[in-house]
């Protein structure tokens, strides 16, 4: 498995290859099985978790809205052919009715219900992404960043714009939050070295507050990030 290394970082390629291998290893699905410290949000028990005729996005939305303290959830939806295409018509549907299960067990059940996806942990974030992402080259979220700086950014949207121009041929964008909020409590300046785009996006989201979520979605050429404090909504057909 190899990840894309931006041209600007090739001056120290051997070092970066080693770092990249570590990064890729740590976002692999097996990381989701690692032992967590006590009080991990993954160990929080959810009394009831019910989704009916759902797609994965619905299930993750439901989980994100459970208000689990400390849960930072990132979801990379499989990018559609066109942004207008309805994900509900392109995606497996399932129902889950779980009681007294941990967040970890619910994530496992969701990824089992739509086997195209896997999940893993990165620091205090949980990522759900296409299994194919590890084989797809180049896949934006797996790409490696040698160094990236955000300066006095007021919100997550402005933070992610720092990615623009980093990776030739990779379209970068973000969606409006609607009535949601992704502002920072104060302008944020930070520097990150040797991390994947996924990890960078996790850090952007984690900085918003104690419980956050982000979604990468859209169509080819018109895809973007949506950052929100708390959980995210999903389209559900009216019953």
């Amino acid at each position: 498995m190899e990840s894309f290394i931006p041209t600007m970082a090739r001056h120290n390629e051997s070092f970066l290859v080693a770092v990249t291998w570590l990064v890729v290893a740590c976002v692999a699905p097996s990381c989701g099985q690692s032992v967590n410290p006590p009080h991990s949000p993954l160990d929080v028990i959810i009394d009831r978790f019910d989704v009916t005729d759902a797609i994965l996005r619905d299930g993750l939305s439901t989980l994100s809205l459970k208000q689990v303290p400390g849960l930072h959830l990132g979801f990379e939806e499989i990018i559609r052919e066109r942004i207008q295409d309805d994900p509900r018509s392109l995606t497996p549907h399932f129902s889950l009715h779980l009681q007294n299960k941990t967040v970890r067990e619910i994530l496992a059940a969701l990824c089992d219900a739509d086997k195209r996806y896997v999940w893993s942990e990165d620091a205090s974030s949980v990522n759900v992404y296409p299994q194919q992402a590890n084989a797809e080259r180049p896949y934006l979220l797996n790409m490696h960043i040698r160094r990236i700086v955000v300066t006095e950014v007021p919100n997550a949207n402005q933070a992610v714009t720092a990615l623009s121009g980093f990776f030739p041929g990779q379209q970068i964008g973000y969606f409006p939050t609607g009535l949601g909020d992704n502002s920072y409590s104060s302008p944020w300046t930070a520097t990150f070295d040797d991390l994947s785009v996924r990890q960078f996006v996790n850090r952007i989201a984690e900085h918003m507050g104690p419980q956050t979520s982000w979604v990468w979605e859209g169509g080819k050429g018109e895809r973007g990030f949506l950052f929100l404090k708390g959980g995210f909504n999903t389209y559900r057909p009216v019953p």
Binding site: T161, I172, L179, G224, F232, Y235
Partner: protein, 292 residues
């Protein structure tokens, strides 16, 4: 003190002079909060046969001086959102709103002149008595709703106070004219800040109304095609709404086009529709009201 005529003598007394005194004519003066037992005694003496034993009649009754008031906003908000119910809060206190109602030891209840309103005594015990009012009915005119708060002592003595309030329903919005905050090459990203107004008073919701978190929802007809899923929110600390409207903000050209109607509601009450038109340059926003 005694008042006499040819046939009857009568006198009155008060058991607690600090609370009430009573003059020779039987008129009471109330001096401070508390309860005093007023005793009236009448003695009937036969004029024709003065040697007969007089008949004595005596009666007692409690006389209570209350110090009771009620405090809360001059309006309540229509709806079932828990944040609204919490804001529609009234407390039964003394008249100066500085202490518990006096004399102490009583119980309290409340009622609205609209029988469909709900009245809930919060579980704070009686320190102080706190009521939450719920209503689904907007006032026709300002102050047309009467809230009555009763305070009753264990001996049955009681009093009540009333407040006239307006039941306000979320009705319409005004907004700013924000600039484009998309700093990539394509698309628009504008944050509309709305002030929420209510009927029938046409007043703005303000921070002191304590409605933060009251549900604000948006829906689109037809459903959104050119961007992600609509996200709901709540009233902000200011009492207003912040809505981040835009297209994908991108470093590559946009191709998705769509025209849709955005409907905004507060606590389930429709307050605004906007036409949003997505195109290659972003979103064109048109306010369709209502404006008042």
């Amino acid at each position: 003190m005694t008042q006499t005529d040819n046939e009857v003598s009568a006198n009155w007394s008060s058991s607690v002079q600090a609370v009430a005194t009573i003059n020779t004519n039987g008129y009471a003066s109330f001096r401070s909060v508390g309860t005093s037992v007023i005793t009236g005694t009448a003695k009937l003496q036969s004029v024709e046969n003065p040697s007969c034993r007089p008949q004595v009649f005596q009666s007692t009754a409690p006389a209570t001086v209350f110090d009771v008031g009620a405090t809360g906003p001059p309006y309540i908000f229509v709806g079932t959102d828990t944040n609204e119910i919490r804001a529609n809060e009234y407390q039964v206190t003394n008249a100066a709103h500085s202490a518990l109602p006096q004399p102490p030891g009583g119980t309290c209840c409340a009622a609205s002149s609209d029988p469909s309103d709900s009245v809930t005594l919060t579980p704070t015990g009686n320190n102080p008595f706190t009521f939450h009012i719920g209503t689904m009915d907007q006032s026709a005119t300002g102050g047309d709703r009467t809230l009555t708060f009763e305070y009753v002592l264990p001996d049955g003595e009681g009093t009540s106070v009333q407040l006239n309030v307006t039941a306000r329903e979320f009705a319409y919005l005004t907004n700013n004219d924000p600039g484009n905050d998309c700093h990539l090459q394509y698309g628009t990203n504008r944050t509309y800040v709305y002030t929420v107004y209510t009927h029938p008073d046409r007043n703005a919701v303000v921070a002191n109304d304590g409605l933060v978190g009251t549900a604000v929802e948006e829906s689109f007809n037809p459903p959104l095609a050119c961007m992600g899923t609509p996200q709901n929110g709540g009233l902000q600390l200011s009492g207003g709404i912040s809505d981040n409207v835009g297209s994908l903000c991108s470093d590559s050209p946009l191709t998705c086009t769509q025209t849709t109607t955005q409907s905004l509601s507060v606590a389930g009450y429709p307050v605004r529709t906007n036409t949003l038109q997505w195109g290659s340059s972003g979103v064109v926003y048109t306010n369709n009201g209502p404006t008042q």
